[in-house]
Structures are given as structure tokens and as C-alpha cells.
Symmetry: C2
Subunit: 276 residues, 2 copies
């Protein structure tokens, strides 16, 4: 999916919501545990209940790998179940030397080899350009590079001063010479309120993937005040706030209610910004 | 395996060789392709042929994930086949927010959940302390943090100047307050010759995992000149140079020959340093 198509989806659904598919076996409703693949069944029902309200799904690979072979199988089935017109993100935070990153690109972009072909993958920037470039060789696929993450550890290295600004600013500046905003997005945590205006000025045309609204305490209004651009430019992720909204047999309905609240809030924001 | 046990293994085998198990289906000998799991069969024969010459095996997860479900199964079987007294490293370069890194720790350290329990995992430092700490909760398990990597992209961010030194130096300095050299190692590429003395002074007691000897052009002698400490302190990895030494039915013998060359070189270095 290219940038124009993504914006069309946002306008059509009046939403820039990304639903994080991060199920933990211990937290999913009891009645699903008798299913052959409870994790997939959980995701399937969440997807059915929210697919008209969101423009992206983001399974975080950790939640699947932790279940071993069965978990990886749930990931494959989940990817296959995400509707084709919804942007799919492998939140994998990979990155390695060139020939190895090419293998990761196969894992997440090359369906013939791995059984999956996501629209995008999250990548950690520490190893630099050649750890990122193999992912950029796939047409219409995206790299979403970690810039300013939502967690406390953000302070340890990302805020270190370098001669031309903080490390995360340099990550944005330098990586923007590797690919343009048609191929590269950035992860910016919703908890980074005060830094949002600055980040938007460094990457005026880029989509930002924004986790941290909800369970992690970030504010949607604040994110949008500084983060919106003329093609929206935001994918705001919510995982726990949506998928664990209910614990009973009506968990999917409850998830829909939470997704709907966010969608309506987003619709108002898009209308006020005259983007729809 | 703890630090003392690792040094005992090094002295007993007169080797600090780590063999990288990074098989690409296209590169493994033709005659193995008829096996039900050619990747595992390849690894099995490599392990049989080299296990008395090395102290560690390091499968890089990318080479397994690229094969999808079947690839993940090969990884599980490979982990299970690594002898218990040989240090096993999941070269996964993971790292995420705390609750998610805890899932990755399950994936690679918690056999009951995932089917695998490596001795160590490589972790990317960009997301800071809380992305690393969940891995440190497992007794006798190790985090191997990326510091100065062997690839060209090393120059993009790792060498940026911060108020207290280069970024990779700060990664070592700051992370050394999270855990001591009994739990934390660092990845330092063999191609970083001139920086090795500096790195050793920053982490005098730590083991360093050193990729980049062989295919990537790093020199074992140079690494050892600056990198050895009083308990060796080095695990030198070779992957392509060993596993692809032969392309025919004798590939395992050829792999052994290359591993033996390195082991003998290491033996001499350990003797000269009076460590054995």
C-alpha cells in the first residue's frame, strides 16, 4: 500500500487508528482456550469487530514468538486474516548487518519464502543504513524506524546530545537521506508530547506510528495538536486499551466499543483539521 | 552457564570459538535437500563436526524466520541439538518496551513456553534500560548488548559524539550500571580493530562477542592483541568461513578443517597469554 492509498483509507474510514494485536494467553477470555488456536481465534474476533474502524493492524512479534512454534503459526494465520485493504505492520523491531536484514525482509515481506507479506516492519536504527536498506528494496513496502519510543528507557540513549541535536533527531535526519516519506515512517511514542512539534518539523511529510495512547498514558489530542499534517501523517496505535476492554464472551463487542470511541475522536480531529 | 564455567570451557577446549549457524537454503549442499529438514540436517552435521573445537554456537534468528514456520521449527531443533555444555546464543537483536521484552525473554529463555532456552540473547540498546532488564531476570542467562557492530552502518549512529564520548561508548558505560560482567556481554565487531583497546578499557571484565572474523575481513590477531583479558573475555564468531567451507558431501569435514585452523590459532594465543 502506498502513501496515497493509505491517506485514502484514512479519509474513507474517518480514522487513523492502528489496532495492536498483542495477545497474551493468560489474558485472553477463558472460553477461547478450548479453541485449537486460542490466540488466532482471539485475533480473528478482534479483527472482525474492528475492521471498519481502523486502517492498520500491528501484531507485535514478541507475543507470538513467546509461544514457540504454535505462536509463530498464530502469527502466520493472523497476517493472512488481516483484510488486504488494511495496512499491516509487523512490529518486529529487527535490524542486523545487510545480508542478515535481507533474511528478515524475506521473513516479513516475502510470502513465497515465509508465508507472510506485511506492508511494513518496524526496525531499530542502531546498526545504521545497511541494516535498513534491505527492507527498502521491496516495492510498496515500508520501514518504520524507531525514533522516539514511548518507554522510560527512551531517556537512556535517544535523548543523548550529539553535535547536531539529540540522537533521535539525528536518526530522523540521517535516515531521511536513505528513503523518502513514501517508504519510511517513524515510531514516535504518544508519551513524547513536548517533542512532537519538533519531530514533525524534522519529518514534515512522514507518517508517524504512535504507540502509547491508552495503557501507557499518552494523549490523542496532544499527539494530534502537533503531529497532524496535510495527509494526516499519523497512525495511532492502541493495543491493550482495545483488545482487553472486556474479559468475557463479549470481549469483541467491548473491543469494538473502545475502538469506536477512538474512531469518533479521530473523526472529529480530522474534520476540525479539514482533512475530511 | 556462568562466567566461571564459560572460562573453564575455554581452558578445557583451548578455544574461544563461536560457530555461527546461519544456513541459507540456497547455499547448503545439494545432497541435503532431500532431507525432511535440510537446514536442521546441515546444522546437525556442522555441530557434530565442530563441537569439540568451539565453546559456543550462535544461530542468527533471521536465517530461520525467513523460512517461515518450517524455519522456526529448524531453529527449535537446532537449539535442542546444541550440547548442554556448549554456550548457546540466540542472535536475535531484539529489544522492545518492558512488557514486550519480557515476551522475547520467554521466547528465547523459557523452554516451557517456547521450547527453547538459550544461554544468551543479543539485544539492541536503542530503547534503553527497560528494554533490556526483562532478559536479566533469568538466572544464569546473559544479555549480549550491541555496542560497536561490524558493519558499515556502524558509522551512522554508533560513532556520534555525545558529551561523554561516542554513542557506543555511552552504551557500554550506561549499561554497565544495569548489570555486571556476570550477566552482560557486548557485541564488538572484529572489524573495529583500532577501537578494541578503548572498548576493553571501558569493559575490562566483560566478555565480548566478536563477529566479523573471516567473510567480513576482521583479524583474529588484532582482536586478541587488544581484547584478551585475564579470563579470555572473548568469544570470536565465525559463520560463513566455517559453514560454507565446502559445498559437497564433505562439507562437514571442510567445516571442521576451518574450525580447527581457528582453534589452533586460538590455542597459541591462549598459551602465549599464559591463560592455559
Amino acid at each position: 500500500m502506498n502513501k496515497k492509498q493509505l491517506f485514502e483509507q484514512i479519509k474513507s474510514k474517518k480514522s487513523f487508528l492502528c489496532v495492536g494485536l498483542d495477545p497474551v494467553l493468560e489474558n485472553i477470555p477463558q472460553h477461547l482456550l478450548s479453541h485449537e488456536d486460542p490466540v488466532f481465534e482471539f485475533n480473528r474476533q478482534i479483527i472482525d469487530a474492528t475492521k471498519d474502524l481502523c486502517v492498520a493492524y500491528k501484531p507485535n512479534t514478541a507475543f507470538y514468538e513467546s509461544g514457540g512454534l504454535k505462536g509463530w503459526e498464530s502469527l502466520l494465520k493472523t497476517w493472512a486474516y488481516i483484510p488486504e485493504d488494511i495496512f499491516s505492520i509487523a512490529d518486529a523491531k529487527r535490524g542486523d548487518i545487510g545480508n542478515t536484514s535481507a533474511m528478515y525482509a524475506d521473513a516479513f515481506f516475502n510470502k513465497e519464502k515465509s508465508g507472510m507479506s506485511f506492508d511494513a516492519i518496524t526496525v531499530a536504527p542502531y546498526m545504521g543504513r545497511d541494516s535498513v536498506s534491505p527492507f527498502l528494496k521491496y516495492e510498496n513496502k515500508w520501514v518504520i524506524l524507531l525514533a522516539a519510543t514511548s518507554n522510560e528507557g527512551h531517556n537512556d540513549f535517544q535523548l543523548l546530545q550529539t553535535p547536531k541535536g539529540k540522537l533521535y533527531e539525528q536518526v530522523i535526519r540521517i535516515s531521511s537521506t536513505w528513503a523518502d516519506s513514501e517508504r519510511l515512517m517513524y515510531v514516535v511514542g504518544a508519551t513524547r508530547g513536548s517533542e512532537f512539534a519538533n519531530i514533525r518539523s524534522l519529518a514534515p511529510d512522514s507518517f508517524l506510528l504512535v504507540p502509547g495512547v491508552g495503557a501507557q498514558g499518552g494523549s490523542l489530542a496532544e499527539v494530534c495538536e502537533f503531529g497532524l499534517n496535510d495527509h494526516c501523517g499519523l497512525l495511532v496505535n492502541s493495543a491493550r486499551g482495545i483488545i482487553y476492554a472486556g474479559k468475557g464472551e463479549d470481549f469483541a463487542e467491548k473491543a469494538r466499543e473502545e475502538a469506536l470511541k477512538l474512531q469518533l475522536e479521530m473523526q472529529q480531529i480530522l474534520e476540525e483539521a479539514e482533512l475530511i
